[in-house]
């Protein structure tokens, strides 16, 4: 189903041809190592590219161009994939079969993408100062707005503390200070370097043939002068001493986050067992955490766990009353102990496996989900193909899930509570 074409050294096009959809999606990503020096620039870059081209010099002319392309969308793409950070653009556009006779949306969309990527208006050898300054302001406000969603805020604080020795603790969008320090010429130089040395991943899903997409992209990528620097391998979690942190804020509801570490990453053979364990422990309405901490004990409205396979980190978060912290914490650990002791029913195990397999199968029914899975899988270090992954999930036993649970160690906790207490 998927075809991989190497357009140039380090420029990979992956095509997932599917004629069922009403749109095509294409992502263009530059992949580099996540580091403090570059993360803010990488986060800023796509938004600056989207501010204007020589032909479409302002936001309005860009939107008009997209409106003419039947309301096509282009959005900034900034992802963390293990130790890597990717940045680029994501385009979605109506399938040609709905367009008026003679209109070709995909061809025009990719021509516009080329303009956005390679034909920015320049000033004194840098990006336009006005674009850069205004997008810096926007990015800073986006970073600061993470405070608005207390669940995300609390989770980021937990990860920052527990990953102080790992790239995973670096903020995905960079820090406010790093963004503020970016100047237009340095950003341009950084971009030109990226276009030369960083692996480029282009992913397409839609009704077009692979050869057709490759033909449309070749003129653009041929303009690049490439001297590709291969990416270092993904690394396991770099540990630091754990902590118990409490922060006080004016909030109505407390947020308790607990971070666990495990040597099981997505490159290990136990990875499917850990996925199953995470699902039955804390993902979804049938998980032990939801069923016991919420349904039986009414301690919270929201509770769940998430497993970051690239680093072997499992986090639990719960929204609770301030005075329920100890009780909730004890209960979460008790549920984990049950998993570790193998007190997992057949139903729990099967439901978890089914949930993972259904989700994987349904991935293929949405262009965005297809892009999200396949355009990151190659970089994430995961070694299983999707069918292999599903087969491995099917084979997980209670004992393997329990063993995965036993590999988890509590590392750090973070509790956000109200000023009134």
């Amino acid at each position: 189903m998927m075809q991989t074409i190497h357009l140039l050294p380090g420029v990979t096009l992956r095509v997932f041809r599917d004629t069922r959809f009403k749109q095509g999606c294409l992502s263009f990503q530059l992949a580099g190592p996540m580091n403090k020096a570059e993360s803010a620039m990488n986060a800023l870059l796509p938004s600056v590219l989207l501010r204007g081209t020589n032909r479409c010099p302002d936001l309005r002319s860009i939107t008009e161009r997209l409106d003419t392309l039947y309301g096509a969308g282009v959005s900034p793409l900034v992802r963390r994939i293990g130790d890597y950070q990717t940045c680029g653009l994501y385009c979605s556009f109506m399938d040609d079969r709905f367009a008026l006779p003679g209109d070709r949306v995909m061809g025009d969309m990719l021509a516009f993408l080329e303009e956005l990527l390679l034909d920015s208006p320049l000033e004194d050898g840098g990006f336009r100062g006005f674009f850069v300054e205004s997008e810096k302001k926007n990015l800073i406000s986006a970073i600061e707005s993470e405070l608005n969603d207390k669940r995300i805020y609390a989770m980021n604080k937990l990860l920052k503390t527990m990953c102080s020795a790992d790239t995973f603790g670096l903020p995905r969008l960079g820090s406010v200070e790093d963004v503020a320090a970016i100047d237009p010429a340095a950003l341009r130089r950084h971009y030109e370097t990226m276009l030369r040395i960083r692996p480029i991943e282009v992913f397409y899903v839609g009704s077009g043939e692979a050869a057709q997409v490759a033909d449309l992209l070749t003129p653009m990528v041929s303009k690049l002068e490439r001297q590709v620097l291969p990416l270092p391998e993904q690394t396991d979690f770099h540990s630091c001493p754990g902590r118990d942190e409490v922060e006080i804020m004016e909030v109505t509801q407390g947020k308790l986050c607990m971070g666990f570490v495990t040597p099981i990453t997505n490159q290990k053979k136990e990875f499917p067992a850990m996925q199953v364990l995470n699902t039955l422990f804390g993902a979804g309405m049938t998980s032990k955490l939801f069923q016991n901490v919420r349904e039986k004990l009414s301690l919270c409205y929201s509770i769940g766990s998430a497993y970051y396979g690239s680093k072997g980190i499992l986090v639990v978060s719960a929204g609770i009353d301030f005075d329920k912290e100890e009780k909730t914490r004890r209960e979460i650990l008790r549920q984990l102990e049950d998993c570790q002791a193998g007190r997992i029913t057949r139903e729990e195990l099967e439901a978890a496996k089914q949930a993972i397999i259904s989700a994987l199968r349904a991935t293929h029914d949405s262009p965005r989900a297809i892009e999200g899975y396949y355009a990151t899988a190659a970089l994430s270090g995961i070694r299983l193909t999707m069918p292999e992954y599903m087969a491995a999930v099917k084979d997980v036993t209670v004992e393997q899930a329990a063993e995965a649970a036993r590999s988890l160690e509590l590392h750090t906790t973070y509790f956000l509570k109200g000023a009134s207490q």
Binding site: L69, Y70, G73, T252, S298, D365
Partner: protein, 424 residues
Amino acid sequence: MTKLEFPEVDESLYREVLENGLTVCVVRRPGFTKKLAYFVTDYGSIHTDFLLDGQVYHAPAGVAHYLEHKMFDMPGGRDVSAEFAAWGANTNAFTSYDMTAYYFSCTDHFPECLRLLLEFVSTPCFTQESVEKERGIIDQEIGMNLDSPDSVVFDELMKAMYSSHPIRVPILGTGETIRQITPQVLNQCHRAFYTPQNMMLCVVGDVDPEEVAAIARQMLGMEKREAGRKLRPWQEDMGCLRQETSRAMEVAMPMFQMAFKCEPVGRGDEAIRQEMVADLAAEALFGESSELYLKLYEEGLIDSSFGGGFETIDGCAMLMCGGDSEDPRAVREAVLAQGARLAEEGLSERRFQRMKRSALGRRIRDLDSFDGTCFRVCAYHFSGFDYFRFPEVYRNIQKEEVQSFLRRVVQAERCALSIVRPLE
């Protein structure tokens, strides 16, 4: 079932109204693995006052949402979520101002899942103890919303705009109102609004439409029962109760929502046309291709969090926008000024055609989403319209309609602004 074809959007819809009054719709998606089913009642948080069997009821605010939570309880302690999960399916529900939806998605065991969906939503099972226990969970959910600036800024806006429409009260109700909810209240509301006549079943996926209808007949029976009659005692003119409201919270920078009060759109083709006219008006006034958006973005008064559109809810409608801004009042003044300018100068025909093309293309792309499609088919059905007919509606809209909408609606006295500002 009747098959309706919509070649312009490459969709076909199967529909039948069963003997019991239930409307069943199937959007066939051959070749897809995922199947999604929505079982929806035309009943939401604002429908607290109703007439049933000759008696008038005034239910406490938050009852529709409370009921949604409690529907998952089954006799004998059966666990609905676990039963879905055993088939690899996911189930959930949501309550809006004027609709409550229960749904599942699955890849296998579709008939079993569909039976279970229909069964649990039509089986009320409320005990004193379980209703009590749920209060703790809903209290936490209310607390979560009180900490969410997005919820607060919207709820405060509704309170400022409306003087008597129940949209003034959050969907979840308040800590006080949910304390008045008892098993008896839940039973009354279920009896009033969870009757097939007031509901709709919509499935998207590669399924056999006849089988869907057969399962619905088998599970819900043939008997037709009158639904409760919604009472709409509110009186709203187009003025706002207050023009501005402001709250301080733990946020990084000020955020705002503002809206212009509009006449409710009603039901049927004409209503949908008005709604799409209003969507285009929103785009013309403050959409990304508008002069206003560009100006405010370049001046740094708005950022990419800015957005807006037209919202309709039973008994009210509004043209609204919002986002983060250092100076929400300046944004309001700019929107009013731009409205006046558009009213005077009008839209160019070229721009208008481009906006229509864009709106049409985006709606076509959105059909790739199972959830979005299922939701819209249901919501538009309750408004008396086949959603997939949207291209013909767009085609027939004239730019004068958009201009006259803007002239009528973008007026200072119809406008309210809600601000959430950082703590001192």
